[in-house]
């Protein structure tokens, strides 16, 4: 999967910008606060329909504008089928199909998404058209943060693997909200009506939770060796890394349904769902010790990076197409040895990285893009308006 061209209009600080990333590595350079991360954020938005910085849609629209437009030409790796979609055409070289993705991001949240100029009924239907793997300094939270961070890693990877997991995740969250509300409303009393309704939510939760647990477990089985391998590549010292996903409810005879029944009284008493996939943990262990509490800061950084690279490898393997790798400001967090190791082991495929400092030794990007003050001042798309103004640093 390759991002061939990117256009931005009124996205963050960019009034208009156009970019033609290299097939391999593109380095986005510039001082802090100039718009480097904004570029990666735009690409990732098309892939996930959200900001990897957790920003709401209205923060993405340039101050003073009504909507932001992110448009991208993406070349899929799969050979074009005879029945390519509306307007589908062969990409350069005759392999892969060229798809035009467009997102109109509106401050009021009514986003509009188009594929090959056809409006999609729901923005969600865009998922899967472009896949990315993002690594940013915040990813240290994957190791140091709470279990929710690690569940999110798994669940987002599952969506990259198969779009149906997005609906599964949405449905599961909805059922948990409904069940939680009912438990609170019950005020600890199991009237026949509460019991009968709770039975229904439990059945739904069991069905969706089991499916989530199965998918997470299968993913972790694939991530385990991949994380080990990636850790050995980026860490400065070798260590044994283990991933364990083994929630108690999955070991229960009768599965989640039985576990929920057993927890019913406690759930009613406390007014919350105490058992289920929303409480799962993915345990990370380095050389026999929990990484969250016992690993050094350097080891934790290596492991966070290894988890991202492992996810990238698994998605590449399963889908047969490598996501676009987005590395935001990673060298500010990694020491020179780890930075060097990362560059040396960059997976094949396309990658965009940002850095405020000089590129580490050994980096050989196919393209260097310089941004300043919300403009691409150097390395923009040839002939593009945004880059036409000049090649010097402003």
């Amino acid at each position: 999967m390759r991002l061939q061209r990117l256009w931005l209009t009124d996205f963050r600080g960019y009034a208009a910008a156009e970019l033609e990333p290299a097939p391999g590595l593109t380095a986005v350079v510039g001082a802090n606060g100039q718009g480097k991360t904004n570029l990666l954020e735009a690409v990732a938005w098309l892939a996930t329909l959200s900001s990897f910085r957790g920003a709401p849609d209205d923060a993405l629209v340039r101050v003073g504008a009504d909507e932001a437009v992110v448009r991208a030409e993406v070349v899929a790796d799969a050979p074009a089928r005879a029945d390519v979609g509306p307007g589908g055409s062969e990409g350069p070289g005759g392999t892969g199909r060229l798809v035009l993705l467009e997102a109109l991001i509106r401050a009021n949240g009514r986003d509009q998404v188009l594929v090959n100029r056809q409006k999609l009924r729901r923005a969600r239907d865009l998922l899967g058209s472009l896949r990315v793997t993002v690594f940013s300094p915040d990813d240290l939270a994957l190791v140091k943060g709470g279990p929710g961070e690690r569940r999110r890693l798994l669940d987002e990877a599952l969506v990259s693997l198969a779009v149906k997991h997005d609906a599964l995740r949405g449905d599961l969250e909805r059922v948990l909200r409904q069940r939680g509300t009912l438990l609170r409303q019950a005020g600890g009393r199991a009237t026949p009506e509460v019991t009968a309704t709770l039975d229904v939510w439990d059945a739904k939760l069991a069905e969706l939770g089991e499916a989530t647990g199965r998918a997470r477990a299968a993913l972790v089985d694939r991530l385990r060796p991949a994380t080990s391998a990636a850790y050995d590549q980026v860490a400065t010292a070798s260590a044994s890394v283990t991933l364990t996903y083994d929630p108690a409810w999955r070991r229960c005879d009768g599965g989640l349904g039985a576990a929920l029944a057993a927890a019913r009284a406690e759930d009613l008493r406390r007014g919350v769902s105490t058992v289920g996939p929303h409480r799962d943990e993915l345990e990370l262990v380095i050389d026999g010790l929990p990484a969250r509490t016992h690993a050094s800061q350097g080891e934790q950084r290596s492991l966070a990076l290894a988890l991202r690279l492992a996810t990238h490898a698994v998605v590449t393997d399963v889908t047969g197409s490598s996501p676009v790798l987005l590395l935001d400001d990673v060298f500010s967090e990694l020491d020179p040895d780890r930075s060097h190791a990362l560059l040396a082991h960059l997976p094949p495929g396309q990658a965009l990285l940002t850095t405020a400092g000089p590129l580490p030794e050994g980096a050989a990007p196919g393209l260097v893009v310089r941004v300043a003050g919300g403009r691409i001042v150097d390395g923009g798309a040839p002939g593009a308006v945004a880059a036409g103004a000049g090649t010097g640093v402003v």
């Binding site: 449905d171 909805r174 909200r177 009912l182 009506e193 009968a196 309704t197 739904k204």
Partner: protein
Amino acid sequence: MYAGPVQDLIDELGRLPGIGPKSAQRIAFHLLKLPAQDAVRLSRAIDEMKARITFCSRCFNVSEGDECELCADPRRDTHVVCVVEEPKDIVAVERTGEYHGRYHVLQGAISPIEGVGPDQLKVRELVARLEPEGITEVILCTNPNIEGEATAMYLARLLRPLGLAVTRIASGLPVGGDLEYADELTLGRALEGRRRLE
């Protein structure tokens, strides 16, 4: 905040489904600019509807009399009842021309978030209809979303022990939809619910 009556109208409009504060404001100022007779026509339409239309005492569809046109129609099969969430769903099923039984409108779906449990729905009224009307089959036609599915499951568990045939509509693809862009869940469900072509 605007002058009393304007703000009152904005508040009222804002309570309507699908209308946020911004839309409420826009509609209110549109109405303000309208010639008086146009505004009166709108308010009279609302009055008329509230005065003349009630809910059918049998199935809770909208109705001009005590019983709706569908319940009063002697050609309808009285042994089958199709359970829907809202009167607008009846319109959708009727458009298919495939169904000739009666209906029952729950007036919502189970959703604790919105404070709706079985007691807030026309569930007891449905159960009360079964014997007197000789109903033998119930088709659960609630929406294919989480709340609709939960409601269908609740009703199935309630009604099956009573010895009725209880069925659920198969959720499939919207006809005229583009298979390529159909979401995988819908497509998956449609595949699961596939049947042999006769």
